[in-house]
Symmetry: C3
Subunit: 469 residues, 3 copies
């Protein structure tokens, strides 16, 4: 039996002339440092620098894209190590969870999760056989052994991945002292402010989030000016710790500009519990405008990702909470929705906004045309379900002809699965090089321009877009 192997030409087209160009381009960019300005790694994990003791705890239980697939094929989350909310906590049987994962590894055939896991297992962990019911225990023991070694500690992996910059995602009221200590330790890690909870009064946790904001900023948020000051204060605190960007999620891209008095009155009504649901939604839409104004002031790059209907499966959400793989996209509109924001700040020299979506129809119809006009707009990486070989290819196919290379924001891995970071960047770089190679061999890109374009997609555009210079 031959060993389970990674194809050195994976992701490349099989057509020999394209493969040759792709391979040559990839050799030029594969060794570039990784920039990861958008992700969900825990800063505490990097500070503690202690690795998970077993592969289920590291690779299965916390990864909702692994869980999602197993759940969709009938495995209850309880049997995958997830604990129902409110129950007495218990230690999951990691070996059992790992066995279930291995016995179902075929479910990941031809999926990006399968590709990343294969990369990690073979390249990072030296695995030589595919997970299966039969190999599960051998792999478990092998991986536990490896995970105990110093070279698998989080910071050792950080160096191995050649990470030049990594950003976490943090709430407006989060204690940033962990970040301060990471900076002292010399790690190129910065927080990213994601203030959704304090700017969206349609959320159930808005009032609590404001209270926490007030405590953290030590600024009263009783009225609208105080509220804005507190948010500005947090932006400054993040920036002082190396932030270059903020992150914003919304169900739609709707932006509305309220006048100052209108906004202040709505804020007061919301605080007093006298505002309607419509007012709450309008205020949230207005706050996107207000946050753009702040970004034009302080120069933090605004990231906006829209279109995910969170926690679609209510019963499961009640039982297990968020992030269990039941966020489902909806159709998105950008052209009219974002217009008030873009008309005001789209040509502002200090403003930059990166747009991410889950509705591929927007790529060629709205996002590439917007990025191909407004100086402030950069088109974000294919997000989430499209962070995949074919998803990336459809993205490049749909946007480059209209927006060019230089209006793209490069790649972000957007992951909480820390060991997968290298694998994800590897896929992007391979796909980007292969896509460019396709242009070259069809006579649509000068061959002496392709290395420039490959470097831009693999590294330069993300550095420039996120002001990491």
């Amino acid at each position: 039996m031959t060993a389970w192997q990674l194809d050195p030409n994976r992701c490349f087209s099989p057509e020999p002339s394209q493969r040759a160009v792709a391979s040559e381009l990839f050799e030029k960019v594969r060794g570039l440092p990784l920039l990861s300005p958008h992700g969900h790694v825990s800063p505490q994990y990097l500070l503690d620098d202690i690795q998970s003791p077993d592969p289920a705890t590291l690779l299965v239980i916390p990864d909702h894209y692994v869980l999602r697939m197993l759940y969709s094929q009938g495995t209850p989350l309880e049997r995958l190590g997830r604990q129902p909310l409110g129950g007495s906590p218990y230690e999951p049987d990691s070996r059992e969870v790992w066995r279930r994962f291995c016995a179902n590894f075929h479910l990941f055939a031809a999926t990006p999760t399968g590709l990343w896991l294969k990369h990690e297992l073979i390249d990072l962990f030296g695995v030589t056989e595919r997970p299966s019911a039969e190999s599960a225990d051998r792999l478990y023991d092998h991986l536990c052994e490896r995970l105990a070694l110093p070279e698998y500690k989080p910071r050792a992996l950080f160096r191995r991945f050649n990470l030049q910059f990594l950003s976490t995602t943090d709430g407006a009221a989060d204690d940033l002292s962990v970040h301060a200590r990471l900076r002292e330790a010399g790690l190129p890690v910065a927080p990213t402010l994601r203030p959704d909870a304090v700017v969206d009064p349609t959320r159930a946790d808005w009032t609590d989030a404001l209270a926490a904001l007030e405590r953290r900023a030590q600024i009263p948020v009783d009225d609208y000016p105080g509220y804005l000051t507190a948010i500005r204060d947090r932006r400054a605190a993040f920036k002082a710790l190396g932030s270059t960007a903020t992150d914003h999620a919304a169900l739609t891209a709707q932006v509305e500009r309220l006048s100052g008095p209108q906004a202040a009155a709505t804020y007061s009504a919301l605080r007093a519990g006298r505002a309607s649901a419509v007012d709450a939604a309008r205020f949230a839409a207005h706050m996107l405008f207000e946050l753009a104004a702040m970004a034009a002031e302080d120069g933090l790059v605004m990231q906006l990702h829209v279109g995910s209907l969170r926690n679609h499966h209510g019963a499961l959400h009640l039982r297990f909470g968020a992030d269990i793989g039941a966020d489902i996209p909806i159709a998105t509109e950008w052209t009219r929705s974002l217009r008030p924001l873009l008309e005001e700040f789209g040509a502002h020299p200090n403003f930059r906004v990166v747009l991410y979506g889950l509705d591929e129809t927007n790529y060629s119809r709205e996002l590439a045309p917007l990025a191909g006009h407004y100086p402030a707009v950069r088109l974000g990486a294919p997000w989430w379900f499209f962070d995949s070989v074919l998803g990336m290819e459809r993205y490049l196919d749909a946007v480059v002809e209209t927006a060019g290379i230089t209006n793209l924001a490069g790649f972000v891995d957007d992951t909480r699965a820390y060991p997968s970071i290298e694998a994800r960047h590897d896929v992007w770089r391979r796909v980007a090089c292969n896509w460019l190679a396709g242009r070259v061999v069809r006579g649509l890109l000068d061959d002496d321009m392709a290395p420039w374009a490959a470097e831009a997609l693999a590294y330069g555009q993300v550095k420039e877009t996120f002001r990491l210079g």
Copy 2:
């Protein structure tokens, strides 16, 4: 002049390495039996076992996809053997119809209809020249001769096609005695209940359909409980004759859950002619929920296909009735629309729902994510206009990365063109194998996993999805 021939490598990529893998995979699955759990073949046709006497009657006049293309290029339906409603019936001149079809055969170049017809003519009927004005009469005579032979009788074709299971589509009030006789004759044919007419009060025929239901079920439908009992009775009658699934068409995927008393009151108002159009639509949306509840009880797989605006061309509809090729798709929303149904039954162990649509934008945005989460959801085959080489490829490209192989429902031919059944499955199997081969040669699917995936797409997934075990 060389004979008109089927390319033995049709549908495969021209790139040699992919073609080699595709061909190898296809050889492993091409001989598997056909499962056809969703289609529109007449059970009477199989019971009578009498073949159409000429090729126009068999291949042209009843196939609205053939008619549609000829009509779009200016041939009136009357000249294609279709008779206006309400006129005195007459025998169409089959040879004339056939001549018109042959003279226009170039219209089908590069279309799936053209591909199926070519397969049938060459492989099934031994034709060696392409239809044209010049060859029309020779082909007509040749085909008439063939059709008179016993090996072209419907049941002989059934055996030739290696059909292991075939399902028809039947109304709630349809007499199932034909099906009982087919069972007695040992044919693996079952009915599929399509109760649209009795569950959608926005339809003009709702009242008549209810009367027919009452007569067939011998259960009074005066009130809501009786109505539900009558529907349950029909489901049981279908199940007793081998049904494993039901089929439901709707313009949108809108589901709404009315309380029992609300539903009963609305039913009564509808029956009394006192309900508004809005009430009618809400009741129809509620009935999808109710039918899902019944499916969770009796285990019949629920098929839901949405997004076709029927009879778009009103004048032609008045003149020739339905099914003349003027059903046009509209944009579809699934994520919010289907949520009430999925939240209630999406994880029910006895419930299964297969989703079909005509809006490709749903594939990656909504359908694959839903199928990749809810255990009850299977993603139906590319439907109708997408039952084609490129349509299938776009489908696989868009859904497998998110939903994997095992959340797909395999293939259904959905045809009333009986002689095309083998050709349609042949195309699907070729395209699926070629798609998997593409994954293999790009290093994205382990080569020793590909045969499993090919078998799953060609046969296993449809068997498992439709509970044909």
Copy 3:
């Protein structure tokens, strides 16, 4: 250093068997005359027959797709030779503009604009080095020299391009005497009526446009019958000068049929300033119906292109006017919107409508099915952002399987960039041939049918669709 060169196999697939077929098909059609029945070349430019003196004036300043890309990367329009409205006019420094363009030529890598420019520069102007900061001055001098030669005069290019027919785009009140003189000069150039300003009362210029219409037609437009008569008069005047088509832009495809009295009353209310915005929109939707009725009468082919939200960037629009690259597409609906028009005229023997859109999701979902049914419907070329290699491929992929070859309207270049006309048709012909070659080598199109299909897509379909016979 090797010369900058056009790949003779550009646009073709690199796979050798497909490339061979594509190349063979292309050789058969590359020399066919060009038909350009939809474009924005100025008739005055052809009448004057004087070429622009320098490359910035010819290739940069008037082309909003060139400007758009440079603007999106931070170059203000003022520095690209565009003059703010209302300021004192000045002579732009063409050499400076050209230098800026050349220094940024890499922005056009892998875009259609880049491909057309490369074609023009090398093939038309004999350039041998790529534009760059370093080469800018040499190229400027070379191009100025060339532009002074008689073979670069507009009519000489007309002959060189082998243009068999070219249509301009003209308002309802435009003076057609230029066209009369072009006809006298023997040029196969015709006007195309684009009456948007007189049929859409939601526009700010509607009243002025009506006054101009009245003056031009010498027919009072005080009431609705007069208004219709004036429009009919203009249609006849255009037709007398060789027009075979009209052109209509709308934000949506919404058509509504008002009764005669309703329409007349609404018209009067609009004229008196007593109508609501809703009335104005309904009247515009009604006028699409009315224009279709006129087209069924006079046989002018109706072109309808929808889905562009014009002048998205308000501030820039105020400063520089329209056509500065800030028109952004929106999602479009055709199936229900166009139904009233198609039900009435979709099968009318004298009526023909060509549909263009900027929302690719319509291709397979709505447009191909409509074109594949209604005899009057032809599916227009991929418009605007999709007039590109990949855009054309997605179009063909999405529509041919459903609509076939013969329901497509072939190609239109839709350009105001006169020197790019040949390059654009070259791209379409190459892409079409390569696409057909892909069908051939996959066994999905008989190889002896491919030349017919190539000729149809390259030439025949546009001739037939636009009644240029």
